[in-house]
């Protein structure tokens, strides 16, 4: 695994807590994410991992705690003190969000080319030929044939939709990508291909990634570090190999052994 690229963290999370009424979504989560690092958040459904991901990506305001992000100018900013305009700019340039269901992250009624080109147009690109060439290049990088560029994603298979969603997110060279079960709902063979592609892109682009998954095999293949969550709390954190090969917490042991038995 490649060494982290910087001394300074990209994302600093301190005591993030989110309640739903009087029920805990996630509680007191703190960690740093470094440039080029892939962090997997694992746990069963209901463990709070998706709540945490939504808090991190400003899609759900935490009840308490602070999340700071290093902007492109190097300054750390509290995400929940950004203006709506700054937040939107961040989300369409410096960040990506890959949904489990590709339809949530794509415009299903516009062409693949426009799906990839949208972010470029949103930040002011006004040359049709350049937009199209960039979109074509990105479709190639996610292994979608050039002649599909004018088709809309409704005609795409599940795996293709997911790859298109990834291209749509990466076209502006983001530094941080959030992924919510990106391989969920896909056939095993399709999953393998997608994971392989993701691993390559993440390494090539030096992306920082926070990925939520219940599938420890995905975590092992993609991530440098793992956070195990249960009942809204982080119960174990460590390097991926270490947590998966030698889990300390009984719950982590159970989680790992259940996977290994399958």
């Amino acid at each position: 695994m490649k060494a982290f690229q910087s001394e300074d963290p990209l994302l600093q999370v301190r005591n993030v807590t989110r309640y739903y009424g009087d029920r805990i979504g996630c509680a007191n989560v703190s960690f740093d994410l470094w440039p080029g690092e892939v962090l997997a958040i694992v746990g069963e459904s209901g463990s709070g991992k998706t709540t945490l991901l939504n808090c991190l990506s400003t899609r759900l305001a935490p009840t308490a705690g602070a999340i700071e992000y290093r902007m492109r100018d190097g300054a750390m900013r509290n995400l929940y003190q950004l203006s709506e305009a700054e937040r939107r700019l961040l989300m369409r340039t410096d960040w990506g969000f890959v949904h489990q269901n590709a339809a949530d992250g794509l415009r299903m009624n516009v062409s693949a080319g426009a799906n990839v080109g949208e972010r470029l147009m949103a930040v002011g690109e006004r040359h049709y030929g350049n937009i199209r060439a960039t979109a074509d290049d990105w479709l190639g990088r996610v292994e979608i044939e050039s002649d599909r560029i004018d088709d809309d994603p409704r005609s795409f298979s599940g795996g293709m939709r997911q790859r298109l969603q990834i291209a749509r997110n990466l076209v502006t060279q983001p530094r941080l990508v959030f992924m919510d079960e990106p391989t969920g709902g896909l056939d095993v063979s399709v999953q393998a291909r997608l994971l392989d592609l993701l691993r390559r892109l993440v390494a090539d682009l030096g992306l920082s990634v926070v990925i939520v998954t219940h599938d420890l095999a995905v975590a092992r293949l993609l991530s440098h570090r793992i956070m195990v969550m249960r009942h809204g709390n982080v119960i174990e954190t460590g390097l991926t190999d270490q947590v998966l090969d030698d889990p300390r917490e009984p719950y982590s042991q159970l989680l790992v052994s259940s996977i290994l038995q399958v």
């Binding site: 709506e84 305009a85 516009v110 426009a114 080109g117 949208e118 006004r126 049709y128 937009i131 004018d150």
Partner: protein, 313 residues
């Protein structure tokens, strides 16, 4: 509590309306909205649109704007589809003749206020004129995003990427931008605006126009404005620049070129001719002695007709 309803008695013979129908209080409210619109070119100002005695969608926004700026000395020109004597133009002109008693005209140069639906006169407007547009759907983003809450946010944040997605799709699917009317523009480098359903042929006219442009949408309760000499740019791509449609032939009646033409079906065997959509412009040219290729055709005599009807005017 039964028994016959005690109907209120009215003196139905009376009934006076205020000058230009609206009460002065309402006019002031609308003028405030207009001033705000002028101060923020292209921004849609919400206003408390009144119920008017014509249906929503039939020019209530334009009528309220006109009523609010109209003075006794004004001279009003009312056009619909470029023409002074289409049915709704006749109806709305009659409304102001009845309620305001102002002078009306067919001649563009004579008018101080021109209220229009779907066209801009061919003859350039002057600084001492105001053009009032009737607007059905003021929101240029409406068909990309149906929610008002979201579109207002998009305007506030200048989040207009979606607009270009639509243009991109046009080019990808058709080889060119397929929007022909209500073609979106950017006003003064800031707000994306719908110039109302005028053909895009008229878009160059609203760029740096000498006259003040006011847009009124009654049903949607919005007013917006473009002050004189404001930059108005039609959205496009660098390599697919905005262009207007061109007609292959001149006006059949007056021979004018580079004007917007209506296609008139002459018979059921494919016979047709093209004539100026701006009827006043066409008549003026013919009065000056210009003739088009079909001016001598019997059909043209019928279409061109005589001068405007004088009855009851």
């Amino acid at each position: 509590m039964t028994g016959t309803a005690q109907l209120q008695t009215y003196d139905f013979a009376g009934g006076e309306y205020n000058f230009a129908y609206l009460d002065e209080q309402t006019k002031r409210m609308i003028r405030r909205a207009i001033l705000k619109g002028i101060a923020i070119p292209g921004y849609q100002v919400p206003f408390a649109s009144r119920e008017m005695p014509m249906p929503y969608g039939w020019g209530t926004g334009g009528v309220q704007v006109t009523a609010s700026i109209l003075g006794k000395d004004d001279c009003l020109k009312m056009i619909d589809q470029g023409s002074d004597d289409t049915t709704n133009a006749v109806s709305l002109r009659g409304f102001f003749e009845k309620t305001a008693g102002v002078r009306t005209t067919y001649e563009t140069s004579e008018a101080t206020i021109v209220q229009t639906r779907h066209r801009i006169p061919e003859k350039p407007l002057r600084e001492d004129q105001i053009i009032v547009f009737q607007v059905p759907i003021p929101e240029p983003l409406r068909f990309l995003e149906p929610r008002e809450t979201e579109t207002r946010k998009m305007h506030a944040l200048e989040d207009y990427g979606l607009m270009h997605v639509k243009l991109y799709e046009d080019i990808a699917k058709n080889g060119h931008i397929a929007t022909t009317y209500a073609y979106p523009v950017k006003v003064n480098g800031r707000y994306v605006m719908d110039p109302s359903p005028t053909p895009k042929f008229d878009n160059p006219k609203i760029d740096r126009m000498a006259a003040l442009q006011l847009y009124g949408a009654g049903r949607e309760k919005r007013i917006y404005a473009i002050p004189p000499y404001t930059d108005v740019k039609s959205l496009d791509f660098e390599d697919y620049p905005f262009e207007v449609q061109k007609f292959d032939m001149p006006c059949g009646l007056c021979g004018a070129e580079n004007v917007y033409l209506d296609e008139v079906i002459l018979d059921d065997k494919g016979g047709r001719m093209f004539v100026c959509s701006d009827s006043d412009y066409c008549e003026e040219r013919r009065a000056e002695g210009h003739t088009g290729p079909m001016a001598a055709d019997p059909a043209a005599v019928h279409i061109g007709g005589g001068k405007q009807e004088e009855t009851d005017r």
